[in-house]
Symmetry: none
Subunit: 199 residues, 4 copies
């Protein structure tokens, strides 16, 4: 019998192969046979680890979302001042997207998953993003950022880095145009509540 670890390894192996395939061809050309070949297993083996194509795709999405969430918080030091924590997270968002075009490109491919499935996955990701929620809550309470919901804040702070990374990988923006520190400043301006400013 496989140990739990070995089984998990092979499962991950398959998911990683799936990610590469998906990034390269999109769902068009994403066949179970190709996936098996790339993962170095037989076609039938896929079905030992995943019920069917659909389940595999959903679990891949979940994995991707979780990976992204994990990396957002990398090297975060919650003892530091909020502004510093914020910069860390934004920086992580940027470098992660810059360095993982596969994940970035694949993300859009999942939009046709049933809405409830997507919702669940995103909710799960929020679970993993506890420190970020805490940070936002704190800043809002201390009147450092505007009284916007967390989801809105994410759309203003984090999502722009995904969008920029996509453009970067498409060659629509070059690294010269794009100083991450400047963009971090900009996103902070977007959400910051400045003294004397009328929200």
């Amino acid at each position: 019998m496989l140990t739990l670890e070995e089984a998990a390894d092979k499962r991950l192996l398959i998911l990683q192969a799936a990610l590469q395939l998906l990034a390269k061809h999109g769902f068009h050309g994403f066949s179970m046979k190709q996936l098996a070949d790339r993962a170095g297993v037989a076609a039938g083996t896929l079905y030992l680890y995943f019920q069917d194509r659909d389940h595999l795709i959903r679990q891949l999405h979940q994995e991707i979302i979780q990976t992204f969430a994990t990396h957002l918080l990398a090297e975060l030091d919650i003892s530091q001042p909020p502004a510093q924590q914020y910069r860390r997270i934004c920086h992580n968002a940027w470098t992660f997207c810059r360095d993982n075009p596969d994940i970035l490109v694949s993300k859009g491919q999942f939009d046709h998953l049933p809405p409830d499935v997507l919702r669940d996955h995103y909710k799960d990701a929020w679970q993993a993003l506890g420190p970020l929620r805490t940070l936002f809550d704190q800043c809002r309470r201390n009147r450092l950022v505007k009284p916007l919901s967390n989801e809105v804040l994410v759309s203003l702070c984090i999502d722009p880095f995904l969008n920029l990374a996509r453009k970067y990988h498409l060659g629509l923006v070059s690294l010269e145009d794009l100083d991450p520190e400047q963009v971090i400043d900009a996103t902070w301006d977007a959400i910051a509540l400045r003294p004397g400013h009328q929200p």
Copy 2:
């Protein structure tokens, strides 16, 4: 023979059916037969208007991008002050995405198109967005906005509305959480160059 107009009509009819189909099922389940059925034509007819599936998809993408660009500029009055023009465009972005979930959802499905194709389509869209480019250029020259490239500005100003609309349609944010005017303010803060501020 069809008049040019009738031909254009049927072509659009097909593209619209395609959009609906794509939004509903993604490319999984997007078959030429289903498309024909939904468009109310025979399968063979599709091939009178489009060379093959791939061309149809590309043209659909182009159409979508153009439609979006067009709506961004709706009711824009370039004689008004920049800030007002800006609000108009942002408002358009929001309402268009809010009211056209099909387009919004489908957009991500095209990410696997060959990068050069995508690039071309986006470049074409920029052509159609002349007034927006002019606006950004003007503001930058007059030190109203930060010295960021247009692409970066779009990621900070326009894209957040797409992201928010997606979340809205997924049910992750409600309209209470989401006052567009506040978000427009926030995006303006993101790019605005404030007096006394060190860029």
Copy 3:
């Protein structure tokens, strides 16, 4: 477009090929590809006429049952005396089974269909067997046959010919052992109500 007749023809063509295949190999070795080959059409064509394998099989069963019912009544003359009608029907049962081993052999293969489906098909067949029901009812009323339900009568009169034909085709009985007239006599004795006999 195909005329209704042509469509029906091709449908029948497929069903007949299916019957042959089923008789030869049972469901083991009954593949849609083989069926298509034998019917002389492409694999995909099967799905223009039948929803899927299962529906095809069910419709084949229905067809077989109906064909059998039809042949049971061949050359039946309801103006003749009951005993003569009875002999005709028994004779038909025998010759039909003797001459159509395919149908005979296939019949057993359907036993795993959902019971309600089987029931429906058999009920439909009874519809087609009106004259037989009338004959049985008449004979029972006139005290020519025992007061047994029609289903029981069939098990005593008709089914034995199916069983015998199966044995015949298996080589377990030869035609010397098996004079149909004698067997018809025997089945009649089974159900006949003789004067002075105590039922």
Copy 4:
């Protein structure tokens, strides 16, 4: 090492699981994996007891036929008069089929076995049915039953009970319609040689 008995036990365990599976789904859905699961053994274990799927199926058929033959003769007292022996056997046929729908339903599934295999199994069963052959022979010699071959007699006497039981399990006849004693009478009438009757 297993004792012979334990080995025989496990073999039977597997065959019984196979019977249940076959009765429930037919050969469609009868997979070695499912069989292993239902029997509570590993997939590989099946191959310790049976060469392959085909051999397993054949042995199951043989087992079923033998079981049926055995039950036909249950509680048979060959010192009793022929008519009584006859009733006993018919009664056994009926109750066995009534109480073992699995066996009954499965029987038809084997019809696609190669004819020679089927023939062998049936011949073996006849071996086990010595007392029944003796009974028929005796009755024929004493002019109690018509001069029909044993196979024909079986089709007239025993097979009807199988047919009726199938109809019963399908819900086509109810127990009210179906008094076994009446049917036994009828089958006896079918084969009995009555004084003064011209065969």
